[in-house]
């Protein structure tokens, strides 16, 4: 990037022209969204006096009448959605409609409003851009508490503004089963919190399509064989230790309940279940979850024990067979299977060679996964979790780390500060793996605090994933000044105000006094 310094206004006739034949419909829709947000945006520059501070500069500013979109000669013209659904390694953010879409997101961020005039002070800037990580994800739990479709769509919009590329949708869990499955409609009929808290097949199609048109791939996680109690509402025969007490002996959080992995019935169910869901999803990735399976649950389950005896198997054998079965279905649909790291590291389950492992317990597990020659995604709880950490959970986290038992009694949680992000991911940036995601687990979240708990913190992660270790001026991101109000914090403040301007309830990072005076609230100023 070479920055410009000339004030430029948008002409009232400003338009965006596509300079290649047959632009796809989703690109045309994206262009029209960009134009509409440029003209309806009310965001004024964050300086004392806001827009009025620039009034003089605008008098003699040149006017921009058009933005021309082109692809390099010979580029294949595909829709943004098609580009988004390419395999992750083959995804192209350059010379593609997807690249143009990323560029439009950048273009939108250059403009301010002052009394209806849209202007930038960056005239003359040249930007050459591309992502550091192709997989830039947000993992979203819609099972502990439910979120209406409109909340998910708004989240997808905001994700696209910061160039995130994957929505990892943890759609079901032990508490509720909101996913309507074509082959088993009874699962959501009986397992959802209520009839109004279901994602119908149409809802899923709509969300996936909406996301794909915004450069976001949807990786659906059907967490199994643990985290499945809610399946028991419709199919009690499939679930071991359902809501068994004390829950803490049989699960990492209430209610207890896991699929009876040793039962041929369950295997047949799982096959049809994964097949039914996978066939409705266009993406090339799908997850079977697999975290926190609990051995006493199966050890004390008569049916499971009888099945094991009859089939002369151990729990480990049954687990291998279960994972092999569901991975086989995922692979048969041409999708890359994802799995949670404890399946591989704690339970030594055999997985397909192209499996992607989601490292979630601690960042230190990444090396162990790499040793097994498996690809992985960073989602370590010690950096990435968006939920608050109460003192109780803090103690738990410490004990997990100290004992390093590998079988965490519960999900460790840590509240991550926006600024923390910009400094503490150094090891990540040096890692050869270019895939990360930040999760929101919803035990204490719901539509009421979705925006405020996610934004703008997720945007800090999105920058780490996109920009990588080096800033456009060649300096390292990680340095003593990284979180100065004149640097990353200033841009994050600006992004937060833009999010609010567009209806996302992102929280304030500082008093407005500080926001309008970049750097004056630094520790040493």
């Amino acid at each position: 990037m070479s920055s410009g310094n000339s004030p430029v206004k948008l002409s009232s006739e400003f338009d965006i022209h596509v300079r290649f034949a047959n632009p796809p419909a989703d690109l045309r829709a994206a262009i029209s969204r960009t134009k509409s947000s440029l003209f309806s945006g009310k965001f004024e520059r964050l300086v004392l006096g806001r827009g009025s501070a620039d009034a003089d500069l605008l008098k003699d500013a040149r006017t921009l009448v058009s933005l021309e979109l082109s692809l390099a000669a010979g580029s294949l013209v595909r829709s943004i959605a098609e580009e988004t659904n390419q395999p992750i390694e083959a995804k192209s953010d350059a010379n593609s409609t997807l690249g143009l879409f990323r560029g439009l997101a950048t273009f939108e961020q250059l403009w301010y409003d002052y009394e209806g005039t849209k202007y930038t002070l960056q005239g003359g800037a040249e930007i050459n851009d591309g992502p550091s990580f192709p997989y830039r994800g947000f993992s979203f739990d819609t099972a502990r508490n439910f979120y209406p479709v409109s909340d998910i769509l708004r989240t997808v919009d905001a994700m696209s503004w910061v160039k995130l590329s994957v929505l990892y949708w943890h759609i079901i869990d032990s508490q509720s089963f909101p996913l309507q499955v074509a082959a088993f409609p009874e699962l959501s009929e009986k397992g959802a919190y209520s009839a109004s808290e279901i994602y119908t097949q149409d809802d899923v199609r709509r969300i996936v399509q909406y996301a794909n048109e915004r450069g976001i791939d949807v990786v659906m996680e059907l967490d199994s064989p643990g985290h499945t109690t809610a399946i028991g509402a419709a199919h009690p025969e499939l679930i071991a230790c359902a809501s068994k007490s004390p829950w803490s002996k049989y699960a990492s959080e209430p209610p207890a309940g896991q699929l009876r992995i040793a039962s041929p019935n369950t295997l047949a169910f799982a096959k049809t279940f994964f097949d039914s869901v996978a066939s409705a999803l266009p993406g090339t990735m799908m997850s079977s979850g697999g975290d926190e399976v609990n051995l006493p649950c199966w050890e004390e389950d008569e049916e499971t024990q009888a099945d094991l005896t009859q089939r002369n198997m151990t729990i480990a054998d049954a687990l291998n067979q279960f994972v092999g079965t569901v991975q086989g279905v995922i692979a048969a649909h041409g999708k890359t299977p994802f799995i949670k790291s404890d399946m591989v590291l704690t339970h030594n389950v055999a997985v397909l060679n192209d499996t992607v492992v989601v490292v979630w317990q601690t960042s230190e597990d990444a090396a162990a996964v790499a040793e097994r020659n498996l690809r992985f995604i960073h989602q370590p709880s010690n950096y990435f979790y968006l939920v608050h950490m109460t003192s109780y959970e803090c103690i738990l986290l410490r004990s997990i780390r100290e004992s390093h038992s590998g079988t965490a009694p519960t999900r460790a949680r840590r509240f991550v500060h926006a600024q923390y992000w910009l400094l503490s991911l150094w090891h990540l940036l040096r890692s050869p793996v270019r895939a990360s995601q930040m999760p929101l687990w919803s035990e204490q979240s719901s539509p009421e605090n979705l925006d405020s708990i996610v934004w703008p913190r997720l945007a800090a992660a999105a920058e780490v994933f996109w920009t990588g270790a080096t800033l456009p001026d060649g300096t390292q991101r990680v340095g003593e000044n990284a979180t100065s109000g004149t640097r990353a914090l200033a841009r994050l403040n600006e992004l937060r105000y833009r999010l609010v301007d567009r209806g996302v309830q992102a929280i304030a990072l500082q008093p407005k006094w500080c926001v309008l005076r970049p750097g004056e609230c630094d520790l040493d100023s």
Binding site: Y420, L423, E480, E520, C521, D524
Partner: protein, 551 residues
């Protein structure tokens, strides 16, 4: 007046649903009772004040619109047979005890804090005969109405309880059950404040402590001092006009809430320099950390006679805007270095032959004198009695914030106190440091103060029996460096309801018992448009106790 410290006893009550705070005496049955289609509330009060009539109308509207299903699996479906055969309640009769003076709720809520009457009794027979609500004041009746509203659930068009007959005799353990909002670090529109007052009234809170100004912005328009807001507000749209203030205090009063304004002085006043640079020492001095607890630095020139008169005049004018009998002059985090480096202050001190501490004493006596002259009681932050040796009138109210451990020291000095300790009640803790270049440190008061932590607070800890009467109550507080309209509801509710129960019902409640009731009030808040957060997965909310650590 002395406050009886009651410890909650739940054992004989069995299951208790949506009541928050839990009444101090409560008997319930197991009979279903529904509201008759023509249910009405009859007020038998001579010359009933209009705010009582309005409160009754709101209660009827809440009954109609809450549409809250009982928090059990299947919601109301399991109650359906019982509802079918239930008797119908046609009337709630509301009356004052014989000889009680009839005043408006608003007047009652603004009485001297130790003389208010908030008790009530409520009887709901199981046989469909009229329910009776009585009290010694309209304020007590209002508290009883908020209890009545929490008893009813909806299932297929019926409003019902399964706990009739119900007999409640209730009154608060402490009169100060508050919430503090900082509207200076970031601004909150009037509509946000009103919604907050609605939520506060649902849980019988009595005090809205409004930290209206600080160093970052001065959003309050004060007649005679209009330049403070016109130059010190963030934006012309981020100002509370005198009519906004009247709107807010009237809205609060009608809901049984007294509004205690705070103009924090002599520290936390940097932004006054936008209009009056002559009154502020070390405005926006660098490095700020040498001159203030947070940027920007700047304090009133407490040794200057002109500044002292200006500030006293300001308090007289503010006192006229707020009908409460209490007004806070703040007084936290006064920075000595700021005054030591300020040439004008040093000259003033020298001329008067005073130390900074002596000047603070003179300054405070003058500002407090102005407040007392307006017939009001001053309130101050704890440093004014624990760190400085200044003369305060005996009835000054002291707000404890630094640590819960400091309350005992305040009581020893024989001052009345309000608990707002950062280690229990600060709602902003745990979100990370907001100062730039801090390498992502934790917030100074980490960790996050969960509702469970707040619920364990004991207002009488380390306070002797003879000083127990000095404890007026307490409040949870939202400092707004990292808050704004975007997260107001989600960071405050339902957590701030915790202290409302601690100070109404008295300490000693069992958090695992309380959880299902707190879920209930949070669900009811959401039905009324307050974006209270979920405390657990809904699976747990529908199965009280099933997600306890030992279940």
């Amino acid at each position: 007046m002395r406050f009886v410290v009651a410890f909650l006893a739940f054992a004989p009550l069995g299951e208790v649903f949506g009541l928050w705070p839990i009444p101090r005496s409560l008997q319930i049955g197991t009979t279903a009772l529904k509201l008759a289609p023509n249910f009405d509330i009859h007020v038998n009060v001579q010359h009933a004040p209009s705010d009582l009539s309005d409160a009754v109308s709101r209660t009827k509207s809440h009954l109609k619109n809450d549409k809250l299903g009982r928090l059990v699996v299947g919601r109301g479906s399991l109650d359906s047979p019982a509802i079918q055969h239930a008797k119908s309640l046609a009337s709630l009769k509301v009356s004052l005890s014989k000889g009680a003076t009839v005043r408006s709720i608003t007047e009652e809520a603004r009485l001297d804090i130790e003389t208010r009457s908030e008790g009530y009794s409520l009887t709901i027979p199981a046989d469909g005969s009229a329910a009776i609500l009585s009290a010694n004041s309209t304020l007590g009746l209002y508290r009883g109405l908020t209890t009545f509203e929490q008893l009813w659930y909806q299932w297929s068009g019926n409003l019902y309880t399964i706990e009739a007959p119900i007999t409640i005799t209730d009154s608060p353990a402490y009169p100060w059950r508050g919430f503090m909002l900082d509207t200076s670090r970031n601004f909150f529109p009037v509509s946000d404040i009103k919604r907050t007052l609605d939520a506060m009234s649902m849980v019988k809170m009595s005090q809205f402590h409004w930290h209206v100004s600080d160093s970052q912005s001065f959003p309050l328009e004060v007649p005679g001092y209009m330049e403070l807001a016109s130059k010190g507000a963030y934006d012309p749209s981020m100002i509370y006009s005198p009519s906004d203030v009247k709107d807010i205090v009237d809205y609060a009063g009608a809901r049984g809430i007294d509004v205690v304004a705070e103009i924090d002085t002599p520290g936390h006043t940097s932004i006054i320099s936008a209009a009056h640079p002559e009154h502020i020492a070390c405005p926006v001095a660098t490095p700020w950390s040498d001159f203030a607890a947070e940027p920007p630095s700047g304090q009133l020139r407490l040794a200057s006679a002109s500044t002292t008169n200006f500030t006293a005049g300001l308090f007289s004018a503010v006192a006229k805007m707020f009908p409460s009998t209490i007004l806070s002059t703040g007084g936290d985090e006064v920075n000595a270095n700021c005054y030591e480096q300020d040439v004008e202050t040093q000259a003033d001190l020298k001329a008067a032959g005073r130390t900074i501490e002596q000047a603070l004493d003179v300054f405070t006596q003058k500002t407090h004198g102005a407040i007392i002259a307006e017939g009001k009681t001053p309130a101050v932050w704890e440093e004014m009695v624990l760190d400085h040796n200044i003369t305060l009138s005996n009835n000054t109210i002291v707000l404890v914030w630094i640590s819960s451990a400091n309350a005992a020291a305040v009581a020893k000095k024989n001052f009345r106190l309000v608990h707002g300790p950062s280690d229990y009640f600060y709602l902003d803790c745990g979100a990370g440091e907001w100062i730039g270049k801090t390498a992502g440190s934790n917030s100074w008061c980490d960790p996050f103060k969960s509702w469970q932590k707040a619920y364990t607070f004991n207002p009488q800890a380390n306070i002797s029996e003879s000083q127990a009467h000095l404890v007026l109550g307490g409040e949870q507080l939202l400092w707004a460096e990292q808050s704004g309209p975007e997260n107001l509801d989600s960071i405050v509710w339902p957590r701030a309801a915790t202290s409302a129960e601690v100070f109404w019902s008295g300490p000693g409640g069992n958090a695992s018992e309380a959880l299902s009731r707190l879920h209930d009030v949070a669900f009811r808040m959401r039905q009324r448009g307050i974006r209270a957060i979920q405390l657990q997965p809904m699976w747990c909310a529908l199965r009280p106790g099933a997600c306890n650590i030992d279940s």
